[in-house]
Amino acid sequence: MVTRTTDLAVELCGIALHTPLLPAAGTASAGVMSANADIFGAVVSKTVTLKARPGNPPPRVAETPSGMVNFIGLQNPGLEAFVQNLGNFDSGVPLIMSVAGDTVGEFVGLCRRMAVEGRVSAVEINLSCPNVEHGGLLFCAGPESVAEVVAACRDALPGKPLFVKLTNEGVLRNSLAAEEAGADALTLINTVPALTVDARERRVLVKGGLSGPAIKPVALRAVYEVSRAVEVPVIGCGGVARGTDVAEFMLAGAAAVQVGSGSFAREPREILGEFAVYLGEMGLTARDLAGALGEAKPLSGW
């Protein structure tokens, strides 16, 4: 149990979060999230698509220096099967639904359904997936396609916050486009395209997305640049594995922070505990970290 002597509460698009720590989409099962509802400010579902997806053939994960590469392929049971089990998320904290589609229409359909689902507090659209109507380029391949899908989703989700999750490539211009089109928050960043090779086997191990502490400096840069350029809150994601990582993201400009692969190597509970200890030692609350980042200075004092 994290001590409540430290004030961890933050607010995100009008949603009160009792801690700034959330699970990253696709990295915590409903069971794991329920067991951690006391430490997660909200829970985030795995990305759900309109129809069931089988996922990619194995191998799907490989380790890398301070990280891992995954190639899951959005395996999920599809919208209706998922909605039938929404009760799994009755853990007492807000639920953010992650959704993705092959077309703008699919995104809209998913958002419409979420708009009427009382259990869902916000929707996070995952734009790191191919847009089949545009030759398979990712939705987040450029600001035009980002703007198009965000604007359509914003209309389809009256009364609920729309979070837009982007990759690092082109993140600043895509973020500006998303904000302009009505995004209520930006989740930065999704995994970075990567490849692992097994030299002894002379094989590809996994071609997929890199996550984990290795990408933390890349994610921090994205959060830093974007939070200085937009008005909407930014949710930091990428490489969180220790309490000070949560602080680093909030200092860089994040309003809340997601932990993904770090929770495979460690317990989110430990990470939040370290964050609370850090705040205690610094005599700060979670909210104090916003905008409290000073400039770099040399070591020998000039």
């Binding site: 696709g26 990295t27 915590a28 099962s29 069971g31 794991v32 089988p54 996922g55 990619n56 053939p57 194995p58 191998p59 799907r60 994960v61 490989a62 380790e63 890398t64 220096p65 301070s66 990280g67 891992m68 995954n70 899951i72 395996q75 984990g212 502490p213 594995a241 692969s261 929770s263 495979f264 190597a265 460690r266 317990e267």
Partner: protein, 249 residues
Amino acid sequence: MKLHPVEVISRERYGDHVRIQYLWTGDPPQPGQFVMVRAAGHGLDPFLSRPLFAHDYEEGDVASLLVVVRGRGTALLAEEGSALLVSDPLGRGFQVTEDGPVALVGGGVWVSPLKLLARSLRRRGIEHDVYLESPAAASGAYLGFLKENFPGATLIETAGGTGSAVFLDWVGDLARYESIYVSGTAETLAAARSAAAGVVPAQLAVRERMACANGSCYGCAVPVWAGGEMVYARACVDGPVFEAAALAW
């Protein structure tokens, strides 16, 4: 994933294999379950914990693992003096019938879970035969280990380092068993699966690379049949032991 610091009691070397024993007072592991393990004091490098089958669990709360050093992760686990962090027992192990006789078929480091399985069968009085691969290149120390830990087991010599279909021939007519339990090389798993098909129910302990080990990430996909359709099950929660007939290989 919650990991517990454990007290390592011993590390014994048998050729390439290392048996690690540690004190364990948590839930007793079931045969075919695995644990996630990492070496303490190395921060997050390597990043992921390593899955290892529960090899044995004795009275006196002594749990053991059987490890072959492959890369840096297993090297750190096997290193003399290195402190370990170990998860609770995980996954779905062998589902044991009440009727014998049954056969246990294994090879390589994958014989590991068969020790705990044999112990459980013995305790429950279920008749069982054990067939283990004895690669021509295996060290005397390892063969000694097999003989000591699987008394009465039939050791079948195979050429090359890995299992082979020939191995299964030696086991003979599988129909005389109620069930077979297999944990061996990829070749042995595949051969056992086809030999058992339509003859005897077989359960296979399979491996796939893991990240979360708690069903969250869908990283450890294993193709299985579900209602005539191929779907990906998760080795960490739906396995690592699967009905051979269910595997969509």
